[in-house]
């Protein structure tokens, strides 16, 4: 397998404050790799290092074969960065932004003009082309940001919290755009604090906490580390709750909601057996639901340490 990003032992500290503590990373070409972590976990620092904006204290990395330390210009020719704050000029219009960036990519004048036209169409910005970006909605600004990134198809696209602060509809739109870029074969390094976003987009996920990668794998692998399906039973009263806790081997219990969660394999047979047991014990049950472990559960169980 070819890797677009490889990193070994990346460290960065500001004085005593360690931001990255030995990061190893391998991002397969053409994949979406997500760095997931709470605020302050070091996601943005890692992105800034890989985008040549910041020099690591130690460790090495290559991007599409270019070494970060010895060939930063080479790295810059194959990457595109969309920052946490949209990297566009708010005083200029959408069209002027695209033109400027196309010229900075040294596209010939005619090719640049054609590319700008194509991108305005592709990213649904034709009607807004002559409007100042400062008047754009958050979603439109992100679309322009992504369009700029695609002036020359990059080997590696950094998406640093691309949907932070967007409403749900705009978020869906950005996700749709990102999926199209993936279909075009762009490798994407996505940072997010939204688990759903990683679940929706990423092929592989690394959970970053306190400057270290605490878990890495596909969404399914990460979920399986904390178990399979659960049957969630809400009891009607405290007495039933107490007996249910005593008899059913619950994994999670919540006294306030009078609910327990029992692991199952998710098969109808096992669920029927469980329900029959509730009946037999004469427990007053209010509601039964099945629960899939979400990335949230993975996230919370992995990052508990820093939240405590």
């Amino acid at each position: 397998m070819t890797y677009t990003v490889t990193a070994t032992g990346l460290c960065k500290a500001y004085g005593d404050h360690v931001v990255l503590d030995g990061i190893d990373l391998a991002v397969a070409k053409g994949s979406v790799f997500s760095l997931l972590g709470p605020n302050g976990a070091g996601k943005t620092t890692l992105v800034r290092i890989l985008a040549t904006l910041l020099t690591p204290d130690s460790g090495t990395a290559t991007v599409a074969g270019h070494d970060l330390a010895t060939d930063p210009i080479g790295v810059r020719t194959v990457i595109s960065l969309t920052g946490q704050y949209a990297a566009v000029d708010e005083v200029l219009t959408a069209e002027e932004n695209l033109q400027m960036m196309a010229q900075l990519r040294h596209l010939p004048r005619k090719a640049a003009r054609q590319r700008v036209e194509d991108l305005l169409v592709e990213f649904d910005l034709v009607e807004a082309r002559s409007r100042r970006v400062g008047t754009f909605s958050g979603g439109m600004t992100r679309r322009l940001d992504l369009a700029i990134s695609m002036i020359e198809r990059p080997e590696l696209l950094f998406l640093d919290e691309p949907t932070t602060g967007l409403d749900p509809r705009s978020r869906e739109q950005v996700w749709g755009t990102v999926r199209r870029l993936v279909d075009d074969g762009v490798t994407i390094l996505l940072t997010t604090q939204y688990l759903e976003e990683a679940d929706q987009l990423a092929d592989r996920i690394a959970v970053l906490d306190g400057g270290s990668i605490v878990a890495e794998g596909t969404a399914a692998e990460l979920k399986s580390t904390i178990g399979g399906e659960l049957l969630r039973i809400e009891l009607a009263d405290a007495a039933s709750y107490a007996r249910a806790v005593a008899h059913l081997g619950a994994e999670h219990t919540d006294e306030r909601l009078l609910s327990i969660e029992v692991p199952t394999d998710g098969s109808p047979a096992e669920i029927v057996t469980l329900l029959a047991r509730l009946e037999r014990e004469g427990l007053a049950v209010r509601k039964v639901t099945t629960v899939h472990p979400s990335l949230d559960d993975v996230f919370f169980s992995l990052t508990e340490r820093s939240a405590a």
């Binding site: 040549t52 904006l53 020099t55 566009v88 400027m100 960036m101």
Partner: protein, 254 residues
Amino acid sequence: MTVSTAVLDSRVMVTRSVRRSFRDPEAFFTALMLPVILMLMFVYVFGGAMNTGGDYVDYVVPGLLLLCAGFGAGTTAVSVAQDMSNGIVDRFRSMPIHGSSVMVGHIVASIVRNLIATALVIGVALLVGWRPDASPVEWLASIGVVLMFILAISWLAATAGLFLGSPEAANGFSMILMFLPYVSTAFVPADTMPSWMRGFAEHQPLTPVIETLRGLWMGTPIGNQGWIAAAWCLGILAVSIPLSARLFSRRVSR
């Protein structure tokens, strides 16, 4: 990266910064109104009470010109600081372009804005009765002095914008630039000031520039003021250019 791509990149950045300058109608209007209002105020309101020997307008033009240049440079400091607090500089830095081109864009835009203000000051001055007796050579020399001063103060302001980092702090810096001319020979001769202030007024950088321009336009004695003015401007550039380059790369690599 070659010299030609550095020139190309700088040209793109100049276009960007000049466009931005003209996109803020309020700031642009203020920048144009300022020279006109100041000229009318100093000539017609204060001018009658000033005793500088001869018409006050003949005395005050160089000072007003520098005051407006200070205002223009303040705008530069603010716009550089704004740029630094914006995500777009990160994008520029992560592209294979010349790092200095961003600053070149700001400086050239600053010079363009200032030259427009300078032309306006001179135009209005001529309308209200300014009658310089400069020869063509003296005119050329005076334009050279103005250009040199604008270049120096623009680069100084851009450096301050980088150093201060926030638009609010940069605004404070532009206030200093705006008030500096008052404690020079811009509006009144230094010998009318108390002695402790006179020392500052006579030796601060604006005074030799003002005296040089006044000499070129009105025929007052220049002495070695021209050389002192040149030394100040070149000195400011010699500090600002390398310092701004260092600050730029440090700012963006935090």
